[in-house]
Symmetry: C2
Subunit: 241 residues, 2 copies
């Protein structure tokens, strides 16, 4: 089995927004599937881990893209594991168009947890270290996001369609709820962007989540999802370059 995983996506008519470009939540969904297939094919995917009551949870993600490909374009995503710490791995991504033009990169940090106790599992001796790889990924790591004063915008209740196989909110669905709070004009821009998200707490079915936003400038937004008790479920930052 190759060390670097590849996932090829043909962008279909119902995967693009009104600018004919693939949406950011769908790019994140394809990124997650790239990671998921890479792990499944190598024996440490969610489907296999679930049998021993373990699962992967995404902790942080930073994604920089120069463009969002259009309908009928091909998007090729490469993924590799850069490092393994005691309870986290760093997994990177490179995005290319069908003709091999690099359009961006992503960096992510994942933890393996026990699905009963929700505690982290040690990642050593699980065979993951056989797939460590070094490759260029010239974007900044996802860091801590500082949250300024925010305005409370709206709320939603976590629904069936928000859930993934672990019955908690799908990491790409956080992005969907976040992106939906931006002014719609922001999505008309074809400019390069950096998107960063810090997943802090899992969100479960029927939980009420409120969304808060700070507009730092016309090209920078900090958006958080909060639980009913006021705790932060996730923090994110979107920067148009």
């Amino acid at each position: 089995m190759e060390i670097v995983g590849t996932h090829t996506v043909n962008i279909h008519p119902f995967e693009v927004d009104f600018t004919d470009s693939i949406t950011l939540p769908l790019i994140v969904n394809h990124l997650l599937n790239t990671a998921g297939c890479h792990a499944n094919e190598r024996g440490f995917g969610i489907q296999q881990l679930n049998k021993q009551n373990h699962t992967w949870v995404l902790s942080r993600l930073a994604l920089e893209l120069n463009e969002r490909p259009k309908c009928e374009d091909t998007l090729r995503i490469y993924t590799w594991i850069e490092s393994i710490m005691r309870s986290f791995t760093q997994r990177n991504f490179r995005f290319e168009t069908g003709d091999g033009n690099i359009i961006g990169y992503a960096r992510s940090i994942w933890a393996m947890i026990d699905t009963e106790t929700r505690h982290p599992i040690s990642l050593t001796g699980q065979g993951i270290e056989n797939y460590l790889h070094q490759m260029d990924c010239p974007i900044e790591r996802p860091g801590k996001i500082l949250v300024p004063e925010q305005t409370s915008l709206s709320s939603f209740v976590v629904a069936y369609s928000d859930l993934d196989i672990n019955k908690h909110m799908n990491s790409a669905k956080y992005v969907e709820h976040i992106i939906d709070t931006l002014p719609i004009e922001a999505m008309e821009k074809a400019s390069p962007f950096r998107y960063e998200i810090e997943y802090i707490e899992e969100c479960f079915w029927n939980e009420e989540i409120t969304i808060e936003k700070a507009e730092i400038s016309e090209s920078e937004y900090i958006i958080t999802l909060k639980k009913k008790d006021g705790s932060i479920a996730c923090k994110s930052r979107l920067l148009f370059k």
Copy 2:
């Protein structure tokens, strides 16, 4: 170009629900992409029509499936145009697993409209008639859905992520909002089902939509989406067999 279109979908880790089965909204999304690619490849797809200010809108859909395939399964969708009327076409679908096992069928009715006037366009002489085909599709046509007294459930505001290339609500997103109103236990059933939807009015960005539901029995639901003026945007019926 072949008369019948084929679309092969490999079901990825982040496309399944907590029963490890692909969700109904995603099946509808794949169905729409199958139709969209079939039309694009043959010169009458949304991407081409948009250049002359025309577009396709889905009017009715009936879908019967014996099962929802699981992660890493292959779903193969066949599509063909059964008939053309003055301003509607009937397009059918057959669903197979990777090993050729037929798991269901769908029937749909589409209209072509002018994106400025929103009026229907005549479908004769557009080259679509070269792709008419007769093939077995042993499910009932989508009919008029009779709406009994319903309970108002919740509301939502049409967001960026709900929109498609036409900047109106994506037909698969209606299904997502509808399915999210069911008791979560309903999605644990692996039983065969029939899903029917009648699209009546387009929903646009920032519109407030209310959802009403009638539970006819434990295995039959009628769910409608309504606009602020009380007009019905769509009616749907879900029947577990």
